[in-house]
């Protein structure tokens, strides 16, 4: 027992030192860094941070994928884009890519002309970080679409990505059409009734002109942003 505590302490210390040292020296404060904190320290005001809004232009992003290829939202104008927040160590991501909706549906959407991109915002020292592990996960789950690396978390914070998986649909006109869960099955089986693929429904609605449910509550691990 003592040994467990000692190793936990050493791990915590290492993680703290790691987190402090491994922040990119060139990283700038994210947009959400300027918003009021949720913490209610004594009397004060707490506000929901301003992040990507449904119906408003989606935030810009420019990231490289695991193969080193650059991706920019400005080059994707005129296309419907799905962003999938990803962490290969998160059990919800694992389940969905193993046997769930993410194992099948992205290819169907891509065949219909949708650009599907995964983004990993895990910071160094946190679950899901590491180029090699992400490449391995991509191969293991036969993910044929690009996996973009956002280790500073700037793009994740800009979108307000909270969980892995957390899905965002950007309509062809560049506005955010949907944000939330991939489906209604956090543990593999639907919470009630039939399985609903929210992203599929949103993409179908977007084609018809109006997304009926533009927001659902995402489930999964918290995105492992830098402290």
């Amino acid at each position: 027992m003592k040994r467990t505590h000692r190793s936990s302490f050493v791990l915590a210390l290492a993680a703290a030192a790691f987190g402090a040292a491994c922040r990119s020296p060139s990283s700038s404060p994210s947009e959400s860094g300027a918003t009021p904190s949720h913490a209610l320290a004594g009397a004060g005001v707490v506000e929901t941070p301003r992040v990507a809004e449904i119906g408003a232009p989606a935030p810009h992003f420019a990231l490289r994928d695991t193969d080193g290829r650059a991706w920019s939202s400005s080059e994707l104008r005129g296309k419907t884009v799905v962003l999938e927040w990803f962490n290969p160590g998160c059990p919800f991501v694992e389940r969905s890519h193993d046997v769930g909706t993410l194992a099948r549906y992205p290819e169907t959407a891509r065949a219909e002309g949708v650009v599907w991109l995964a983004i990993n915002s895990s910071a160094p020292g946190k679950q899901g970080h590491g180029l090699e592990d992400n490449r391995k996960a991509k191969a293991k789950w036969s993910i044929s679409y690009p996996l973009l690396i956002d280790q500073t978390g700037e793009v994740g914070r800009r979108f307000g990505a909270k969980t892995t998986p957390h899905l965002f649909v950007i309509a062809a006109d560049g506005t955010l059409a949907y944000e939330g869960a991939i489906d209604n099955a956090p543990h593999g089986e639907p919470e009630s009734g039939e399985l609903v693929n929210y992203v599929q429904r949103a993409l179908g609605d977007a084609k018809a002109g109006a997304v009926r449910t533009p927001r659902t509550k995402p489930y999964g691990c918290n995105v492992k942003y830098a402290d």
């Binding site: 959400s32 918290n222 995105v223």
Partner: protein
């Protein structure tokens, strides 16, 4: 140039330490949530209600999630399987804490220890000294710098009370501590008051005032039709005032503005939770 050497050195160090941290994450949780099923009686008496508790002991610094997990996570689930004829009530979740994580991710859950409590009513007739088997099915998500799912089933055997062995309270200290964390009725909070302070474009304003409180915090239920978009805590000489800006979420009719959740009241080191279920009266909205 010196900067470049620093970057290269740091990159190497970070890769090494990062790889170690990832190796731990890849191997699974180094520590686990301990779960047990406990009863507040040593024996079961026919027709006499008792309580079962799904007890979660959480490793230091890790957390698991409340019935509304907040921005991320999933709720902790617990269900009881009981012998035929027993009625098992809905799970009663203890009041949560608020965890603010990097990226403005706000989660609701527990650290340390938590117990989900069930009221159990036995049938009117039971065979004396019979052995009764109860089972708990539970699943949870444990998070810190990594997240791990947990799932377990636990059994508990209890005997039916007899004249010779009528039974007595069990796990008294544990139940005493954990029951104090269960939300109580809002109207049992002496002197507490609420006031709907009007509506403006899509936002309702509700003020909750609790005499003698030092701090207040509110945690909405996941299915609450009204969602909290802003909290303002005001401290008065002899009371705390929490003003909530609320927005209707989903397909809720505009005349059905209902807030459901729990209010945490702090007085010094003492904490208590109260269940809120308030509806703004139809047609009584005031202009702010």
């Amino acid at each position: 140039m010196a900067h470049g050497r620093y970057d290269a050195a740091m990159l190497g160090w970070c890769s090494t330490v990062g790889a170690a941290a990832l190796a731990i994450a890849a191997q699974g949780p180094p520590i686990r949530v301990a779960v047990e099923l406990v009863a507040d009686r040593t024996h079961v008496a026919a027709g006499e209600a008792f309580e079962l508790g799904a007890r979660f002991v959480i490793p230091p610094e890790w957390h698991i999630y409340w019935r509304n997990p907040g921005d991320s996570g999933v709720k902790t689930e617990a269900s009881i399987r009981a012998p035929d004829g027993f009625e098992v009530g809905e799970p009663r979740y203890p009041g949560p804490e608020r965890f603010v994580l990097p990226g403005d991710v706000v989660d609701f859950g527990w650290r340390g220890e938590a117990m989900i409590v069930f009221r159990v009513v036995p049938p009117a007739m039971l065979a004396a000294d019979a052995k009764l088997e109860f089972a708990l099915d539970a699943r949870w998500l444990m998070c810190r710098e990594a997240c791990f799912l947990g799932e377990t089933s636990k059994k508990l055997s209890l005997r039916v009370a007899t004249e010779q062995r009528p039974g007595k309270p069990a796990n008294e200290k544990l139940f005493d501590v954990q029951r104090r964390r269960l939300p109580r009725a809002w109207n049992s909070l002496t002197g507490a008051a609420h006031e709907w302070r009007g509506s403006r474009t899509g936002i309702d304003v509700l003020a909750l005032r609790v005499p003698g409180a030092d701090r207040l915090d509110f945690f909405p239920y996941e299915d609450s039709p009204l969602a909290v978009v802003r909290r303002i805590l005001g401290l008065e000489p002899r009371a705390a005032l929490l003003t909530l800006d609320l927005r209707a979420d989903g397909d809720v009719a505009s005349d059905r503005r209902r807030l459901r959740g729990v209010l945490r009241v702090e007085r010094g080191a003492e904490r208590a939770w109260y269940e809120i279920d308030l509806v703004q009266p139809v047609g009584k909205e005031k202009k702010p």
